[in-house]
Amino acid sequence: MNWTAILLTLKLAALTSMILLVVGMPIAYWLTYSRRRWKFLVESVVALPLVLPPTVLGFYVLVAIGPKSPLGQWYQTVVGHPLVFTFEGLVLASVLYSLPFAVQPFTAAFGAVDPKLVEASWTLGISKLATFFRVTLPLSIAGVVTGGVLSFAHTLGEFGVVLMVGGNIQGVTRTVSIDIYDEVQALNYVGAAQTALVLLVFSFLILSVVYAVNRNLWTVWPMK
């Protein structure tokens, strides 16, 4: 069993979820309340990772952060090493890949908050930002937790994007799913089975906890 890969994967998933909480909420807020005509374009872009093969997404990210791209060059100048085939590059790719798994539950939850409550807060003299933290967020916390957990779980299991962007560097970018693949390639079925079991049990536990704690979550299962 490859504990290095497991810990690396947990770290990647946790970091991705946290970044998505910070980045995803403003996007979801905008999607909920904006009346721009081109809002559907942003919605489509956010949903793209749901339908694109991970290799396609991975390919574009690879090109975008490569040493010849403006982003890759800028990163190298500032940080001192290339972005591609690093843990940071992997985090960036994971954030993009899991974006809809966070933003869609967030948007659904924000949209379910009665707009009158938000307006009531505004007329009581509370700023838009403070209203978000005092009314919208507390009333959509279930959806926000769901988005966080789903993006965490989704990152745990990603394979194609990691392979394209991260390469396969032990302790840096070799995640559980790639480690399992490697073990199978090397005909080490016992090692693969152990790691796979850890991932299976862990994923199951997370989802069980979420569904047990809150029965009213945005859910992949239709409500009774």
């Binding site: 009531a120 007329t123 009581l124």
Partner: protein, 361 residues
């Protein structure tokens, strides 16, 4: 004018319809302007524009020396900066906060002691003591309304906007709250703009009524004037009640009260002893007419007068009888011919005491 709110604006929609108003509300003293009209007449939109929750297309909204909205200069004061209170139709209480949390919601930046003191004040004023830890879902409709009022009053707003304040209550509660609300609003000394489609509510609360229909203000005036002397058929159709006059109780007998109106006495059923000053509302179909005047008998509510106006309306005619005040009666065209009714004809109008609807002023 520094001491009034002026709102002259238009809100146009893509569909081609629009809402246009020109309203003034005196500030610095209690004054209730009621926007009265059927649903779809645009009255709630007017209220939302005053609150800053929606923006007009053209025009200007000024409040004392401030400009809240000006289409020409692009001034748009956000709702947060208007320092007003807005009471939503279904109260919009925060479901995740208890009663005390809802009331204290706007009081951030004040010390905990000050906050507790002012919340306590409001709990007392609105008879909510003992409920401070309840969630909104655990309250009755009347209690929810009082919490919503407390939440806006605790900020001491400069203007209060009420959207159908009683419509979410069941009928018996509404009856009771209507009286309380009026007294409470008076005592706070805050100018108020209130939206309603219920004429009883309008009469009970208003100092001034603006009748709205089809996105326009059709008539503005004191409530009794607007309800009993609509300027045109549209307003008459909207207000629906034909006779509204102010009167005061001069005698009481059991559950009856005699009220003096324009020099004549009218008996009405008034068992609850709700005060001395009332609006008397009489539906035209509750008035019967006889030809000629007869000396006042012991029978109740025989009013001698003359026909001053006849307005045909389909199969019936609407007659205005001057009998100390202008009383509107409804007769069939057949009866109009049989009785040879014409302007100037002396008649006696009879109204049952139970048909005189009283609304406290």
């Amino acid at each position: 004018m520094a001491d009034e709110m002026t709102a002259a604006f238009e809100k146009a929609y893509d569909s081609g319809s629009s809402i246009r108003v020109d309203l003034r509300v005196p500030l610095g003293r209690p004054h209730v302007l009621v926007l009265f009209g059927p649903s779809g007449s645009g009255k709630t939109t007017v209220l939302r524009c005053l609150a800053g929750l929606e923006l007009p297309t053209h025009g200007r909204i000024g409040f004392a020396g401030e400009t809240w909205f000006d289409a020409e200069t692009g001034v748009q004061t956000p709702p947060q900066a208007r320092a007003i209170g807005y009471l939503f139709q279904d109260y919009a209480l925060f479901p995740h906060l208890a009663v005390a949390g809802n009331i204290a919601y706007a009081l951030k930046g004040t010390s905990a002691g000050e906050r507790a003191r002012r919340v306590g004040e409001m709990l007392q004023l609105l008879h909510l003591e003992g409920l401070e830890n309840r969630r909104p879902a655990q309250l009755s409709g009347g209690q929810q309304q009082r919490v919503a009022l407390a939440r806006v009053l605790v900020r001491r707003p400069r203007l209060l906007l009420l959207d159908e304040p009683l419509s979410a209550l069941d009928a018996p509660t509404r009856e009771q709250v209507r009286g309380e609300l009026r007294g409470l609003l008076r005592s706070q000394g805050i100018p108020i703009v209130c939206v309603t489609h219920d004429w009883v509510e309008a009469l009970a609360l208003a100092d001034e009524v603006a009748v709205m229909g089809g996105g326009r203000v059709l008539q503005v005036g004191p409530p009794d004037e607007v309800f009993s002397r609509p300027v045109d058929a549209d307003v008459a159709a909207i207000v629906g009640v034909e006779t509204v006059v102010a009167g005061r109780v001069v005698e009481r007998m059991d559950d009856l009260a005699a009220l003096e109106v324009g020099g004549v006495r009218l008996w009405a059923v008034e068992p609850s002893k709700r005060g001395e000053e009332f609006y008397l509302c009489i539906r035209a179909e509750d008035v019967t007419l006889e030809i000629g005047t007869r000396p006042s008998s012991s029978a109740r509510n025989h009013l001698a007068g003359r026909v001053v106006e006849i307005r045909p309306a389909g199969a019936v005619s609407r007659l205005v009888v001057e009998c100390g005040f202008a009383l509107t009666a409804l007769v069939t065209r057949q009866a109009e011919r049989d009785l040879a009714l014409a302007p100037g004809t002396p008649v006696t109008a009879t109204v049952k005491a139970s048909a005189v609807h009283l609304i406290p002023r």
